[in-house]
């Protein structure tokens, strides 16, 4: 039915099967859109946020998708600026994931603000000293970079490519892609970092506050580094997911292993820095403010010291070891464990740096603030996932996302 749109020679499931799948996910998407509409029309009273807990589940989702979407800028940097040419076989996927993640993040931010119609104030009346201002500017600009990176792939659709103008445009955009990729990496360093800075500058919140360099707290650098380190883990996870669902190999092992190895070394260096940061914070920064480490992990029903262990050991040291040791990295099962733990680790870090920050009491007579999100919040948080599934499925079906697909299929 839609075979004329499918890349030449590529095998795709029958259209009715595809359409059914999209319809199912589409229903979830509509549920999310309905919840989003409620938040916009009736206001944030639709959530379970309160004055003690002003950052909701979806802000965590926002930070998490930006972190795991970091594969786009980092892979782009490695391919176009550092010239690691093998990564051309996975860069398309990284770009599509990045595009989905960043468009989702912008959507979440638009739902999260109390006066969405005034959202442009953040640009117009920008307070340049606020980390959130830096986030908004860099995020929007980087999203335009991702769009620029995504366009050539769309133009490579079999039918669009027949139009000479689009064919030439795609070619010409590729020819200057290094400039766009470098700009994207520059912007990403700042927006990933400033997202870390959002928590790190809060000197009224000893759980979040970190010293730093010039105007940037250490969390600024840790966030940038972790997004670059863990982003590729998510790119690889989605690759594996695609290979599992389609039951065919889409990217050659050597490409996967190169990205896994780079990710492994990045995670290793990141987790060393993170451990040093944690030790300094636990023994110097927090005590100066009157807190012991255990104060942040006790007297409540959820946040125990386990969360620190899970983040650093399970989500950091374990994937770092697996991905850096060749023998482990090239074992498919261990590789899968490592990339999944990597994604888990960075998401948990973002959780801690957003939600636990809100939960920890600061005044000596205050209590822990724990909150359970409302269904509207859960639906709006799932909305980007459904949107992402639909967009990436469309991209896989109609665009040459995996350049090695045909070759691997023929070899089989």
């Amino acid at each position: 039915m839609d075979s004329a749109l499918i890349p030449k020679g590529a095998k795709r499931c029958p259209f009715p099967v595809f359409a059914t799948g999209i319809a199912v996910v589409g229903a979830v998407l509509l549920w999310g859109v309905y919840a989003m509409g409620l938040c916009w029309l009736k206001g944030l009273n639709q959530t379970n946020m309160n004055d003690y807990y002003g950052f909701a589940l979806w802000i965590w989702a926002d930070l998490a998708v930006i972190a795991i979407g970091g594969g786009a800028f980092f892979t782009g940097l490695l391919k176009y600026v550092f010239g690691i040419d093998e990564l051309k076989n996975i860069i398309n996927l990284a770009v599509v994931i990045g595009f989905i993640c960043y468009s989702s993040a912008l959507l979440i931010l638009a739902i999260d603000i109390g006066q969405p119609l005034r959202g442009w104030f953040i640009f117009w009346h920008a307070n340049v000293h606020s980390m959130l201002t830096e986030v908004a500017f860099c995020l929007s600009l980087y999203f335009s970079v991702l769009t620029i990176e995504f366009i050539p792939l769309i133009l490579e659709n079999r039918q669009i490519d027949k139009v000479p103008f689009f064919h030439n445009l795609s070619h010409n955009m590729h020819s200057v892609m290094a400039v766009f990729a470098a700009t994207g990496a520059f912007l990403s360093c700042f927006h990933q970092g400033s997202l870390g800075g959002v928590a790190g500058v809060l000197y009224g919140r000893p759980f979040a506050y970190r010293e730093g360099l010039l105007v940037w707290p250490w969390t600024f650098f840790l966030f940038t580094w972790s997004a670059a380190a863990y982003g590729p883990c998510f790119t690889l996870t989605v690759t594996k997911l695609f290979e599992g669902i389609t039951r065919k190999k889409l990217v050659k092992d050597n490409v996967v292993h190169i990205l896994a190895k780079i990710s492994g070394w990045m995670i290793t260096t990141y987790i060393i820095a993170k451990i040093i940061d944690t030790i300094y914070w636990a023994f110097v920064t927090a005590p100066d403010m009157g807190f012991s480490l255990i104060d942040f992990y006790s007297n409540n029903s959820f946040y125990g010291i386990w969360i620190l262990f899970a983040e650093i050991v399970l989500g950091g040291i374990v994937p770092a070891v697996i991905l850096t040791v060749k023998k482990y990295r090239e074992n498919n099962k261990l590789l899968l464990v490592a990339i999944l733990l990597g994604v888990f680790g960075v998401c948990l870090n973002r959780w801690v740096m957003v939600l636990q920050v809100m939960a920890v009491p600061v005044m000596s007579f205050d209590t822990w603030a724990l909150y359970v999100p409302s269904w509207q919040e859960i639906a709006t948080t799932i909305l980007p996932v459904a949107y992402g599934v639909i967009l990436i499925s469309l991209a896989y079906r109609y665009l040459p996302v995996f350049p090695q697909e045909q070759e691997l299929y023929d070899a089989k």
């Binding site: 009273n45 946020m49 603000i113 953040i122 201002t133 809060l202 000197y203 403010m289």
Partner: protein
């Protein structure tokens, strides 16, 4: 006007004598009616109720007969921020410049029509002094007639907080100009609603930069240490975070002063 708050500008502040406070809540009521603070039909969930001035109840945690209770009124602290340079925790993070530090008064403002409701300032404030309008204000029939014309009501989706009754400062300043006193405002001319409403006289308000004002006499702020009180019975909430609040508390009771900040084991004894 200076940029460091140590010069001739005003530095309005408040001193609350916790040993006098009975926890009656008059300050809260006065504040709400003075500033058109909205309320909900059902106020059982206190975590989304707007209380610019909130009275916390503290106990010493001891069993009877040694139990002791302290009521602690908490307005916005109007923090001077690290080094008292005006970079309050909330002001420095607001992305849209919707909250600002007045170097001429030391008051942290909130511009409701500028705020777009990101709530970052609420996350930054360790005192929970900032409140979000989760709903549009809904006044019972006829109550609009009783709203203060000097204070604009706020709409859904923006953050609000105590302004030290800034409209009263504006009125006092206007009067002073009119009477050709420039901006020379007398101590009694500008007082907040909570100060005037407190039946126990627990709240004192005035200019911390003026040694003649009662607030200065009570706490003796040390200008070389960002206004840290020299009166040993006085303290500021969370002094160790270096937020440098302009609200001071006084208590003869040691456990109350200790509750004003966080101390690790043995630290309090050493700090005495």
């Amino acid at each position: 006007m200076t940029q460091d708050n140590h010069g001739k500008a005003y530095k309005f502040g408040m001193v609350i004598d916790l040993d006098k406070c009975t926890g009656c809540g008059s300050c809260m009521v006065a504040c709400m009616s003075e500033n058109n603070v909205p309320f909900k039909e059902d106020e059982t969930n206190k975590k989304d109720s707007i209380t610019w001035m909130k009275v916390f109840k503290l106990t010493n945690g001891k069993p009877f007969p040694d139990t002791d209770i302290c009521y602690m009124p908490r307005p916005c602290m109007h923090c001077g921020g690290k080094g008292d340079h005006g970079h309050s925790p909330c002001v420095s993070v607001c992305p849209a410049t919707a909250t600002d530090y007045g170097y001429d008064t030391g008051i942290v403002s909130q511009i409701y029509t500028r705020c777009f409701g990101c709530r970052y300032c609420m996350g930054a404030c360790p005192y929970h002094a900032r409140y979000f309008n989760w709903w549009d204000p809904k006044w019972p029939d006829g109550m609009e007639e009783y709203l203060s014309p000097s204070v604009s009501p706020r709409m859904r989706g923006v953050v609000e907080k105590c302004s030290f009754c800034y409209h009263r400062y504006q009125a006092a300043r206007d009067r002073a100009y009119h009477e050709e006193r420039r901006d020379n405002i007398e101590e009694g001319e500008y007082q907040t609603a909570c100060t005037q409403a407190c039946p126990a006289g627990a709240i004192t308000f005035g200019d911390l930069n003026n040694p003649e004002h009662e607030v200065s006499k009570l706490v003796k702020p040390d200008t070389h240490q960002c206004g840290k009180p020299r009166n040993p019975k006085a303290f500021r909430l969370l002094e160790r975070l270096q937020t440098n609040p302009k609200v001071y508390y006084i208590s003869e009771r040691e456990w109350v002063r200790k509750a004003g900040d966080n101390y690790r084991d043995g630290e309090w004894e050493k700090s005495k």
